[in-house]
């Protein structure tokens, strides 16, 4: 096997859980794992080398976006590997026990381990699992985006309420300035406002409502 320039580790800093095979020919060649603790972190295991005792796997981290970009042919395996500062190289024996763990800076990966510039996604080249994974990520992203939109709308609404209160407060001040001498408070309008439970249930809106009522009252009755 190739000699690796890197730092030996006692154990991995994550617990890999296999999710599926991406490329397979007479056995897995590229597989997808996630961290058992942080399930949003993806690890790609790419077969790299072997001798009589060990199979060596090159392991690198990628994100949801990386996976989507790869499947949409916006990037390739080579760029995904090079976007990391380092990779893990795992020597695994016949008993599937990890015997050596090496952290290897990306620039020191033996060139014979690296994919080519043509390592782009091709339909049908990979196992069906890849497209299942793609749709899963898109679905996750869709839910996330919906949540984000809802959050933004709620924030906007909250700001609107605040602005509305500010506006009413300003109007009240204006009314104070005007203070017409003679007016009558329209009972119907007051009833409509006070019967609106949604408004009166909220303290802020009660202030708002009270402000409006007071302003109108003062404006009309004075």
């Amino acid at each position: 096997m190739e000699i690796i320039k890197g730092i030996k580790l006692e154990k991995l800093g994550f617990t890999p859980v296999k999710q599926g095979d991406i490329l397979y020919h007479d056995g897995p060649l590229i597989s997808h794992f996630i961290d058992s603790v942080n399930k949003n972190i993806h690890y790609i295991y790419k077969w790299a080398d072997n001798d009589d005792i060990y199979n060596r796997w090159l392991v690198f981290k990628i994100t949801d976006d990386d996976l989507v970009n790869f499947i949409e042919k916006k990037t390739n395996w080579l760029n995904l590997i090079k976007s990391n500062s380092f990779v893990y190289l795992l020597d695994i024996d016949d008993e599937i026990d990890i015997k050596n763990i090496t952290i290897c800076p990306v620039d020191s990966i033996p060139s014979v381990y690296l994919p080519s510039e043509n390592s782009f996604f091709k339909v049908n080249k990979y196992e069906k699992y890849v497209l299942d994974l793609y749709h899963l990520i898109l679905k996750k992203r869709e839910i996330f985006q919906t949540d984000e939109i809802l959050k933004l709308v709620l924030l906007e609404m909250k700001q609107l309420r605040t602005k509305q209160i500010d506006t009413i407060s300003l109007i009240n001040k204006l009314f104070d300035l005007i203070k017409p001498k003679q007016s009558k408070f329209p009972i119907e309008f007051r009833d409509v406002l006070s019967n609106n439970e949604d408004f009166t249930a909220n303290n802020n809106i009660s202030i708002y409502e009270r402000g409006v009522l007071n302003s109108i009252n003062e404006h009309i009755l004075n």
Partner: protein, 152 residues
């Protein structure tokens, strides 16, 4: 048929080879990736006999017997290609992703040979022209196949 891996098939809970696997109607030239030397003992060994013991244990631990034995049955087949071009292109696709070391694992040459209707049964051809072949005993493929081109 007196299959090469008949003893293994008998241990399975699924029909192996699958019922839809058929012999070729007439002699057919097929293609397979092999290592430099035609006498390399791994050239015509199915995946089942090449994987690490623990990987086999993992497969044997699959709870669903149909799922487990379908997988083992597939691992007892030899990978073949319909044309030399398809054998070459599929290898190059994999090489693009894997780098030069893939030659050590999958082979360095393309060999071709004639498979007759008496040599075993074959699965469907996939999009790459790949298919599974379950050979009979005494097939003597290492003598009947010839290296025809390089994968490097």
């Amino acid at each position: 048929m007196d299959y090469f891996f008949l003893d293994d098939f008998k241990k399975l809970t699924v029909t192996c080879p699958p019922r839809h696997y058929k012999p070729f109607i007439e002699d057919k030239m097929v293609f397979r990736w092999i290592f430099d030397n035609l006498n390399n003992e791994n050239n015509f060994k199915p995946r089942f006999y090449l994987v690490p013991k623990k990987e086999l244990e993992k497969i044997n631990n699959i709870k669903n017997p149909t799922q487990r034995d379908t997988r083992i049955c597939s691992m007892l087949a030899l990978s073949m290609f319909v044309t030399e071009k398809q054998a070459y292109e599929r290898f190059k696709d994999i090489e693009d992703d894997m780098g030069d070391k893939i030659f050590d694992r999958l082979g360095t040459k393309i060999a071709s040979g004639i498979i007759t209707k008496n040599d075993g049964v074959n699965g469907d051809f996939d999009d790459f022209g790949h298919f599974n072949h379950h050979p009979v005993k005494n097939n003597n493929y290492s003598q009947r196949f010839q290296i025809i081109s390089n994968l490097r």
